[in-house]
Amino acid sequence: MSSRLNPQPLEWIDRSEQITFTLEGKSYKAFKGDCVTSALLASGRQLLGRSFKYHRPRGVLSLANHDVNALFQSESHPNLRGDVTQVTEGLTLRPCNVQGSLDHDRDSWIGHLSRFMPVGFYYKAFHKPRRLFPVWEKLIRRKAGLGEVNTQWTVERQPKSYVYADLLVIGGGASGMQAALSAAQAGLDVVLVDENPHLGGSLDYQLVNETAAAGHRERLKSAVHQNPGIRVLCSTLACGWYTDHYLPLLTPTGIIKLRSRAVIHAGGVMEQPAVFRHNDLPGVMLASAAQRLISRYAIKPGKRAVVLTANDEGYRAALDLQTAGVELVAVIDMGALSSRGEWARKLVDLGVPVWQQSCVYEACGATRLEQVVLAPWHQGECDLSRTETLACDLLLMSTGWSSAAQLVYQAGGKLSYQPGLEQLLPSHLPDGIFVCGRLNGAYTLEQRLADARAAAEEAVAWLAGTPISRDLAACRDDQPHSHPWPIVEHPKGKNFIDFDEDLQLRDLIHAMQEGFDNIELLKRFSTVGMGPSQGKHANMNAIRVLARYQGVSIDAAGSTTARPFFHPVPVAALAGRRFRPQRLTALHQQHQQSGAQFMEAGVWLRPEYYGPAEQRRSSIQAEVQAVREALGIIDVSTLGKIEVMGPDAARLLDCAYTMKMSTLAVGMTRYALMVDDSGVIVDDGIVGRICDDRFYVTATTSHADATFKQLSKLIQCAGLNVRLVNRTGSLAAINLAGPHSRRVLQSLTDIDLDDAVFPYLGMREGQLCGYPVRLIRVGFVGELGYEIHLPHSAAVTVWQALMQAGSSVGIRPFGVEAQRILRLEKGHLIVGQDTDGLTNPYEAGMAWAVPLKSKVWFTGKPSLALLQSRCQRRLVGLRLAPGTPQDQVKECHLIMAAEAMVGRVTSVAFSPSLGVVIALAMLDLPLADTAEQVEIQVDDGQRIQAQLTSLPFYDPDGARQRVNLEEVA
């Protein structure tokens, strides 16, 4: 039977479009614009979900974007909230956390055991014996779970967007709209957000039948929409506040990151439930929920209603029920009728019985409300000698409100209890944060509009740099709208404080008796406010309980800060788009055409090796062999490249690097080692001297920017006359290495490569294929080789020319992996791989690079002077027995002596040149000096013998990189 009303003036549904969806295989009809909850209610279904712990039947509670007992599972999404998820054609739903069906949940027996499951039961019962915990965990997760994640998910990424504004106004009700208008009229650029699909707020449900509100509604809505200074974002939730007014706004299509200069909070209030036995039965709901059902979705929430109230709003809701054709059985007022206003008088005139100074003692019914038991109520106690029973199918609760001030708390604002309003209200606000409306205790429409204007004026003045101080309480109501103790004890319990986590009044009392007598402790032990609604309708009552039973004030009981995000946010919205810059060298396409397999090196993509993935090992070996026996070519454009110019250039480099650069001859290069203040190696490269006051410096790929920064800081600290140019991106670099390198390169350049005029470690400038280049004779891979530094635009031409010229000798491009093996054979370390955040040059075997005596100063010198005699470990070479499988020993495997860890492998590879597996390892002293053999513990726990050996492994005298090998051979 349908409970759909005739068209309502402001309804959100579009009756011209009908939608069909299914729940538990049963088909339901709805209109476009219906939410799942309204559509189910329209068809007469009231039981919408089962509770988290006891599997109790639940229906509508708040219908305010936090009804977390009506959760549904679609094929793609878990935990859809019925009160905000719009139905779509063909939507297939099933309930969450149900064994069987909603109506016949096989787990509903758990509720009968509740007396044996006191608060903290899980912590106490399931941790011993430890071996059984996985069994319990599995069981609990199944019984007390929420939705199931679809593991066959498809990637859904919602790109983030960015918005800037002078002022963000949160909440599109009367006060929010008025505040936005006043601020925009003063010239501010305003963004107005509201979580609902339409502006209006409580004007459109609580005051929908108020003729006095109609004029304001029309005026505000049209003025807001017409004002070009206001950007309106509906269905948008400001779900967190971060420093400097940076707020994530959750929209249906993703997150907007908004930067504003100030924020006005006008998010209103969240209605709070009364606490009495069976206050969770379907049919018991907040008064505002019923008003939303009627005005937004044209749903008649019941046939025979009782209204429990402690404020005027309850009478307004009763009048609205009457207008919607619901029979009013009675109004139960927890206070006195004499303190109520015009709405109460109207209701009394209609002849509806009002029980004053009374409360609901319990609600009765099996799976839905059938009757309520009321009792006289004095000073927080029920008089059970005079109870009355009223038959009804709807019970509205209108006993209090709590400010939606989560973001005010996050920004560092303070709220304190106002006894006049029986509510926590803002008392201290940080810079740039303003509040107005019901959130600030302004309840009548006139108060709200005046408060909004005042808040806007305050924000405008603050942004203009001429802050004014205003009395936050100026526009607040003088009547309480919340009951200070809407909580009724019952010996049989089931009077729920927290509907998310099924916490009853006695659970909180027990927790306090166990000593969890502070709100932060109480929250963590009992989990109150930790469910999906984040305490939106539990925290206020929990604080009242704590304060009363501890005999302290509400302020002394304290409140918790809802951390960002205070509202559920889908992971897809958080994930956003993958946005990570990636740098490609000038030769990237060239590598692709040569079949390169790429790897990430910092932000760069570099060829790891060339050839199909299944031939990885043989490709790398062939590349190594080409360099050793013929000619190899590698793109080293990712090296940091810095020009250092000026009268103090040599002095700067002397300070920045361990070795002396001021003595470097023009046209020569020197190894450059950089340590920090503590003597730890941070970078290495080479420094070349172009002329007296000009140097060319290279740095490792990953440390290039940091080295540039370090040099530039030294210039500032010491006031040096030096200019730096970072040419890492503008220059490409190619290393041509192998016995044939000189002959092949000579055919393309005007620079004389003869060993007599261009020695090892020399640097020359000239032309190559018509481009200006700088050649450096280097030896990183241990063969005769030239590093060619050239303009980015020349890279492809030169690379192709070299490939062409080298084809007769079998030139081969080689990747990072082959280069690692080649340098390992030479015993050259890689900073950051063979060294870590504690390695100093002595431990790395580079005492030769630390001229303590001849240099007065360099960064880190005092530390190295102290460390010289205090080394604890040293980098050593290891050689594995021939025949050891190539991948058995890996980097970071431990070196063990009996049961003690004495070192670790830093680099390891099969050396094609030597025919065995070789490694570098950091080994504790004195073992590194005395041991001949060590044991490496590999993945399966087996220990592999390794022989200590002197470095380098290959060509120890460096003959190959110095002499003309073609002549020797």
Partner: protein, 88 residues
């Protein structure tokens, strides 16, 4: 994302800056204890610190005075004021 309100170039996203610590002069002639103190210890007491900030997009260095209690920049220092002579 936070903003850094630089007195010279105005408020910029803090992700454009690298923080390089408090302005300190290495004790060039220090004994082991004094040198170790310089290398390993930092002053964590709240107050106004003079700090190095590097603005990456422009490649410029600033020495800003920041109140570490309120996290507000309260001024900037001319780089000439924090210079020291390197030993030679």
């Amino acid at each position: 994302m936070k903003l850094l309100d630089c007195p010279v170039i105005g408020a910029r996203p803090i992700s454009e800056f690298d923080y390089m610590g408090e302005v300190r002069v290495p004790p060039f002639e220090a004994d082991e204890a004094a040198w170790s103190d310089y290398v390993f210890n930092r002053n964590g007491a709240p107050g106004v610190l003079r700090e190095w900030w590097y603005h990456r997009p422009s490649g410029r260095w600033y020495v800003l005075m920041r109140d570490t209690l309120t996290d507000r920049v309260v001024g900037h220092v001319d780089l000439a004021e924090v210079r020291y002579e390197l030993p030679s």
